[in-house]
């Protein structure tokens, strides 16, 4: 079975996602990158599930998709509020949490 190929794809997707989160200043782009990370995880779950002949992996992936939808909903709402307050969605400007 082509497990390693799937894992490699997932690893690439994950790295792209992490790169996006770390480098993009646009809030929406950060959220999209997080989606990439989550989907990398989904691929892993499905791949391992199929590899072991266990349907649990796919069920788990479905849950992750549902949670990701909720997360994007909240995330977009936050981005929208940041835009309303600052007229920009640059996340590097939102640094009010500094110590």
């Amino acid at each position: 079975m082509l497990l390693n190929q799937f894992l490699g794809l997932a690893a690439i997707l994950f790295c792209i996602g992490v790169y996006g989160v770390l480098t993009r200043r646009n809030g929406v782009m950060v959220l999209m990158s997080i989606e990439l990370i989550l989907n990398a995880v989904n691929i892993n779950l499905v791949a391992f599930g199929a590899y072991q002949g266990d349907v649990g992996g796919q069920v788990f992936a479905l849950f992750v998709i549902a949670v990701a939808a909720a997360e994007v909903g909240v995330g977009l709402a936050i981005v929208l509020l940041i835009y309303r307050n600052r007229r920009s969605i640059d996340v590097s400007e939102a640094d009010l949490l500094q110590g």
Binding site: V18, A94, D95, L96, Q98, G99
Partner: protein, 735 residues
């Protein structure tokens, strides 16, 4: 039939109600809590909870009584059937009819119920366990019925009487607690419980007597009741402690009684214990010389007075003596004697209390002194060995005294809340026919006019003294008998005076009086009915036959082994009954005639202006002594209290200044020095320095670390992923 000639056969009654008697006091107790919590928010301000609980308790008490009587009668029925066959066999065998006849006549052929005890271990310490439980026997069943019954009527009556009062809810809450406390005391299986119930009753009476505490007189009366009772309570505690050790470290009432009956406790010990307990009886049951709180307790609302005087509180003392009767029997040497302390106290109380009732203007005070007098009767009966007669008098007295008090309340309700017979009453029979009739019946019962309730119980007590020829009491108490006869005459006389001043003659108050409402008159009618019939429960068998007679004695009296071995019943005497009744009627008629003549002279007068007291100096001083209540209040406040408080206060002040203050000052100075040392070296030098160092260290490290907290999310994310990558690397290397 040898068995019947000896000790009577006993049986153990069985019923759900005897095992679960605790529910009866628990109900009003729950009502107390519920009324306090939710009473004010309810449509009837909590009265409905009180009434519902007390009516349920009454229902349970009636069922318990029914079960008790039913158990007794069924065992008695099978026993007599057996006895008859045995008698017949015996008669045929030996031709000895006399033995069988004797056995029947003496009432020995009756079965006796054993008490039903249900006990739990409350706490145990050092191998001794203190139980708590219920003791159901004839005496407690009788009291359950009386207390719940009177309490129910008082609750209903109160809804009208204290209507619109500012502490209406509070009043009903404490009425419930009062009932509960008395029921708890009545059911107690141990003397410890008895003390708890006794004190609870005292506290509730304090609260209810002082219900209208805004007036100083009322709160003073409440204090007086409480403090006078405390004096006796010391006796109670000492007496119970003596009995605890004497009976072999037990609080159990039945064990103590058994020990006293079997002679396991020395006579002198029992004497000391019963003298101490007598002090408690004197304060709680208003015996001379500690009775002074009782008339003042009239400051409370009238239904409370009815409850205190008829069912709860004052009969507690009589009940306690009845409960521990073997102790008093031996301790006071009741059998075969002609005088003893308890009978003497009772006798003096009933005569002196009765005399005081003659000079009162206040209708409730007349009744209060009458209660003192009647309680004296009960204690006297116990003192001469007439246990059953005392309990029976307690039973009948509850009904007619409650009726009289509620009647007095109804009268005062009509006369604009005055209790003054001379100034505000007179001629009320035209305006208040129901109150008048019930009051008349209850007074007749109190005076012992046959065939009303008081006649039967009073007659039994007089016979019980053994002072009349042919009565064969437990002793021959001639002096006590004379006191009893005198009181019987006096009771009729002062009640005739009260009735005349209240209901006859012309109305002396202002504004038109009116009859009270249904919630007041219906309880009065019920009580008047019982004042007529309650006496029929214990008519002598010799007069009415075995089927009807002495039912109360058979149901209430404890089993033979629970009473002293030489305890006997006096024989009733028809001649005594006739003489005592005639005496009462004559005394009543004499007073009635006195007032009738006075009325003919001047319709508004309440006393002769040229009477005996104004013509004879001796009579005048006697009247003065009575009006001043034998100067007992003066003795207590001016002599005893004032005499002790001056020197005592000075001594206490000196002790306070020189010894206590010296100790306190020294201790104060020492602690100041110690405090200074601790502040300087330990607090400032060690503890504060450590704390300061810690804080400074935390501040410095915080200053360094704050630079990491840039607030930039991407920087945090970078750190997080970097750290995760490092962790993964370590993990890979490890695997």
């Amino acid at each position: 039939m040898l068995l019947a000639a000896g000790a009577s056969e006993t049986f153990t009654p069985e019923s759900w109600f005897f095992d679960n008697a605790w529910t009866i006091p628990a109900l009003p107790c729950a009502a107390f809590i519920l009324i306090l919590l939710f009473g004010k928010r309810l449509p009837y301000k909590g009265a409905e909870i009180g009434i519902a609980s007390v009516v349920t308790a009454l229902g349970l008490a009636i069922l318990t009584t029914g079960a008790w009587v039913g158990e007794y009668e069924s065992h008695q029925g099978s026993h007599s059937a057996e006895a008859v066959t045995q008698d017949v066999e015996l008669a045929q065998d030996t031709d000895s009819f006399e033995i069988a006849a004797d056995a029947g006549e003496g009432g020995e052929g009756h079965v006796k119920a054993e008490p039903v005890v249900r006990k739990l271990d409350w706490l145990s310490s050092n191998g001794k366990s203190f139980g708590i439980g219920t003791l159901v026997d004839g005496q407690s069943v009788m009291m359950l019925l009386v207390v719940t019954f009177i309490s129910t009527l008082v609750h209903v009556y109160s809804t009208d009487y204290v209507h619109g009062d500012r502490r209406f809810t509070h009043y009903f809450a404490f009425l419930s607690l009062f009932t509960s406390a008395m029921l708890f005391m009545v059911l107690s299986a141990t003397t410890l419980q008895l003390i708890v119930g006794w004190e609870l009753v005292g506290v509730c009476s304090f609260v209810l007597i002082g219900h209208w505490w805004e007036e100083k007189a009322n709160s003073d009366a409440a204090m007086k009741a409480f403090l006078t009772n405390r004096v006796g309570d010391i006796g109670l505690l000492i007496g119970m402690t003596i009995l605890f050790f004497a009976a072999g470290n037990t609080f159990d009432i039945l064990d103590i009684n058994d020990a006293a009956i079997n002679g396991e406790i020395a006579h002198s010990t029992l004497t000391w214990a019963s003298i101490c307990l007598m002090a408690a009886v004197m304060s709680k049951s208003g015996q001379f010389i500690l009775h002074t709180w009782l008339p003042d307790a009239m400051a409370g609302p009238t239904p409370v007075s009815a409850l205190i005087h008829a069912a709860t509180m004052v009969v507690a003392g009589v009940y306690m003596v009845g409960r521990l009767y073997p102790v008093f029997w031996d301790g006071m040497s009741i059998a075969g004697s002609s005088i003893n302390l308890m009978a003497l106290i009772g006798g003096i109380t009933c005569v002196f209390g009765g005399a005081l009732a003659f000079v009162q203007r206040d209708i409730k005070k007349v009744l209060a002194y009458s209660t003192v007098s009647q309680l004296g009767y009960m204690v006297m009966a116990l003192g001469v060995g007439a246990w059953t007669a005392a309990m029976f008098h307690l039973f009948t007295h509850a009904f007619f005294k409650a009726c009289l008090f509620l009647g007095a309340g109804s009268v005062s309700h009509a006369c604009h809340h005055s209790f003054d017979m001379k100034a505000d009453m007179g001629g009320l029979r035209k305006y208040m026919p129901t109150t008048h009739k019930t009051f008349l019946i209850a007074s007749g019962a109190l005076a012992g006019i046959p065939p009303l309730a008081g006649f039967w119980s009073k007659d039994e007590i007089l016979a019980g003294t053994g002072g009349w020829p042919g009565t064969n009491g437990n002793g021959t108490y001639y002096i006590i008998f004379a006191m009893g006869m005198l009181t019987a005459a006096m009771t009729a006389a002062y009640m005739a005076r009260t009735i005349w001043l209240t209901f006859y003659g012309d109305y002396r108050g202002h504004e038109e009086p009116h009859e009270s409402g249904k919630r007041i008159t219906v309880p009065l009618m019920i009580l008047a009915f019982l004042a007529v019939v309650a006496g029929f429960f214990n008519m002598p068998s010799q007069w009415v036959g075995d089927g009807l007679g002495l039912k109360f004695e058979q149901w209430v009296e404890p089993a033979g082994t629970r009473l002293p071995g030489n305890f006997t019943h006096a024989k009733p005497s028809i001649s005594l009954a006739i003489v005592a009744s005639l005496l009462a009627v004559a005394a009543g008629a004499f007073v009635w005639n006195y007032y009738k003549k006075l009325y003919a002279k001047d319709p508004k007068a309440t006393e002769y202006t040229d009477g005996l007291a104004s013509r004879m100096p001796l009579a005048a001083s006697a009247h003065k002594v009575l009006e001043e209540k034998y100067y007992l209040d003066h003795l207590y406040t001016d002599t005893i209290a004032a005499g002790t408080k001056g020197p005592l206060a000075r001594a206490a002040y000196w002790f306070n200044q020189n010894i206590l203050d010296g100790i306190v000052d020294g201790a104060g100075k020492g602690s100041v020095g110690l405090g200074r040392f601790i502040y300087k070296y330990i607090d400032q030098g060690t503890i504060d320095a450590t704390v300061n160092q810690t804080a400074a260290g935390a501040g410095q490290s915080g200053g360094i670390l704050r630079r990491v907290q840039s607030g930039k999310i991407r920087q945090y994310a970078t750190l997080m992923f970097g750290a995760a990558a490092v962790l993964v690397a370590i993990f890979m290397a490890a695997v």
